[in-house]
């Protein structure tokens, strides 16, 4: 175990994998000095495997996807999640369909990394959480780690996956530190994690809002409510069983995500539970999400953010 940041943990995974596999390479635009850089260590160790591309997102994506179709394992850095729509055809119509089209006779191992999330006043084209745009597309896996150790373990699993994986890192998590296993470390895709045990209500979240949920859970103790908090970690495939098991115990579910409300993946979870374990529910399934509006800058953004209070309010409404 070593203490390292979320960003360092990701880089550590990539460096370890690159040492073992000469066919891993990266393509992306320069990160201008390292802001939110999650590949720094690996980059310094293997500079020749990091291709600094022009501002040609469709070609960059095509480079990564096409090379992965030919036999490499590629990392594509799209910088911001909001930029992924710039290469949406490459991801939606191309990458997502490769394995299906090859019908078992080929793969498309590409990890598509971007930063998501709001909270630093970068405005409406640099701040959104678009996981459901990808989760909705058959053929794409979607990974969104919260903690440094998971970030490392999930990156390793993503790199070893034989299909396209969207790997979203949250802007407010990059510098968070934690104990991270040394050497090769894997966390399987598709497994959620109970990060706080409780018996009265289940809070399901992923990425930065997990932190907010943990805070809310602490505050709720004063109200006599003991909340269980689940970090979904992987959005596709998602760990229904873990959530069901928790809700069978608590009977109450609040899904918390930074997505815009309508058409969110938070809705997918709620809908699935409302279908599959309806009888275990003691009351409505609540969602705490961002409103259906772009992310503003400045002080107004503070009012936009998901806060422990908003989560607590939703929880309290179930009692």
């Amino acid at each position: 175990m070593s203490k390292m940041s979320y960003a360092e943990a990701i880089s550590d995974s990539v460096a370890i994998e690159m040492r073992q596999d000469p066919n891993i390479a990266y393509v992306g635009e320069d990160p201008v000095g390292g802001a939110q850089q999650v590949f720094m260590g690996a980059w310094c160790e293997f500079p020749e495997r990091f291709i600094v591309a022009p501002i040609t997102e469709t070609a960059n994506a095509g480079c990564a996807i096409g090379a992965s179709m030919c036999g490499m394992r590629m990392i594509l850095d799209m910088m911001y999640a909001d930029f992924i729509p710039v290469a949406m055809d490459e991801i939606y119509n191309q990458a997502a369909n490769v394995c299906y089209t090859y019908n078992g006779k080929g793969n498309c191992p590409v990890v598509i990394r971007a930063m998501c999330g709001n909270g630093t006043s970068e405005g409406l084209q640099h701040s959104h959480s678009l996981e459901n745009l990808f989760a909705h597309i058959p053929g794409l896996k979607v990974v969104m780690p919260t903690f440094p150790d998971d970030a490392k373990g999930l990156m390793t699993s993503s790199l070893r996956d034989n299909g396209p994986v969207i790997f979203l890192t949250h802007r407010k998590l990059g510098y968070n530190e934690g104990e991270v296993p040394d050497n090769e470390y894997l966390v399987p895709l598709g497994k959620a994690k109970v990060v706080r045990e409780g018996k009265d209500v289940t809070l399901v979240s992923w990425s930065y809002p997990v932190m907010t949920c943990l805070q809310a859970a602490e505050n709720l103790v004063k109200q006599g409510i003991n909340a269980e908090v689940i970090d979904l970690r992987t959005i596709v495939p998602w760990d229904k069983e873990c959530i069901k098991e928790s809700v069978r115990k608590t009977g109450r579910l609040v899904v918390v995500s930074e997505e815009n409300h309508t058409g969110s993946f938070a809705g997918e979870i709620a809908a699935t539970l409302a279908e599959e374990i309806f009888n275990a529910l003691k009351g409505p399934i609540k969602r705490v999400t961002s409103i259906d509006a772009p992310v503003p800058i400045g002080k107004l953004e503070d009012l936009y953010l998901i806060t422990p209070e908003k989560i607590e309010k939703a929880v309290m409404s179930l009692f």
Binding site: V27, T56, G66, N97, Y102, G104
Partner: protein, 320 residues
């Protein structure tokens, strides 16, 4: 450089196979045996045959929505190809994707595409692969005149020129896109002129002259294999059939098909071969009979292949 007889006959055979295959596809489609949406390659045979015959094993090819000719010219098994068009289990891709999406990595066909211009970014990756492996191989991206308008063609060339990737963009300029004639959506005569904007070679060639195509692609491939980077080759040609089977010829002027028929890539090459004494009419007839048999067999194979079953609905959606 003159070509030897054997090579010329190979080119001839390749073109004829495409022709006969496409004729059969048309027949089967009209008989209701092929579902969906079929884009015939008839009339453009010299491009596919010329380009693909100049390639080496392990070179990578990325095709578009009208790629049946490319597949044939690359040596994809006609049985499997036909079965794919029929939507049958023994198709190149299990019969789930159809004509616009045929791939066969063994024969270098990495991707086809229903998205016009969609293969161009992927071709950057194929070329990157060749360069990264340092294996002296090249990637070919086929693209229509219509598709060359897409931003992906620009980004692909920008990227490839910067990293000197071994990529050849073959623009099959059949002078029409859907039902829109070339002149209505272009302000230039030659698309190859764009090469100057990337500092790379750009060549215009008669796309109905299979030898000429073979030659220029050979040159561009040598350039690419030498690490000198990408090229653009524009092949002027003509699609004799409709945009899809069923299109009566929207967007074409009266007489255009007839005019181009005089420049049919196969009959003009036949005339050249015979004039040069490379082959006799008898030999040509034998080739035709062989090719026709192969194509007939392919259709029978496709007919006999079973349909995919329910499990196929969800197989390989995610990588194994």
């Amino acid at each position: 450089m003159t070509m030897n007889k054997e090579k010329r006959v190979t080119l001839y055979r390749s073109m004829l196979m495409i022709r006969r295959f496409e004729e059969k596809v048309r027949e089967c489609f009209l008989a209701g045996e092929i579902p969906g949406f079929i884009h015939p390659y008839l009339g453009e045979e010299a491009v596919a045959a010329g380009v693909c015959s100049s390639l080496e094993k392990e070179d990578k090819v990325l095709s578009h929505h009208r790629g049946t000719g490319h597949a044939i010219a690359l040596g994809v098994d006609p049985d499997k190809l036909m079965a794919e068009l029929f939507g049958k289990r023994d198709g190149t891709n299990g019969g789930r994707v159809g004509q616009m999406h045929v791939t066969d990595k063994e024969h270098g066909l990495v991707a086809s595409n229903g998205i016009v211009g969609g293969a161009l970014p992927l071709s950057v990756g194929a070329a990157f692969f060749c360069k990264y492996q340092n294996n002296g191989k090249v990637a070919i991206a086929f693209c229509g005149d219509g598709g060359a308008a897409r931003g992906t063609s620009h980004e692909a060339m920008q990227f490839a020129s910067v990293f000197k990737l071994p990529l050849i963009l073959v623009i099959e300029n059949n002078l029409i896109a859907g039902a829109t004639p070339f002149g209505a959506i272009n302000n230039v005569k030659d698309l190859a002129d764009r090469a100057g904007g990337y500092g790379i070679p750009g060549v215009v060639v008669d796309g109905n002259d299979v030898e000429a195509v073979y030659e220029v692609v050979g040159e561009a491939a040598k350039h690419a294999r030498n690490g000198e980077g990408p090229s653009i080759i524009e092949c002027k040609t003509w699609r004799m059939d409709g945009h899809f089977i069923g299109d009566p010829g929207w967007g074409k002027e009266e007489g255009e098909n007839e005019e181009w028929k005089k420049r049919d890539p196969i009959s003009s090459f036949t005339a050249r071969l015979i004039a040069a004494g490379d082959v006799t009419q008898e030999e040509l007839d034998t080739i035709d009979a062989e090719v026709t048999k192969i194509v007939e067999d392919a259709a029978d194979f496709a007919r006999q292949s079973p349909y995919p079953t329910e499990e196929a609905l969800t197989a390989h959606v995610y990588a194994g």
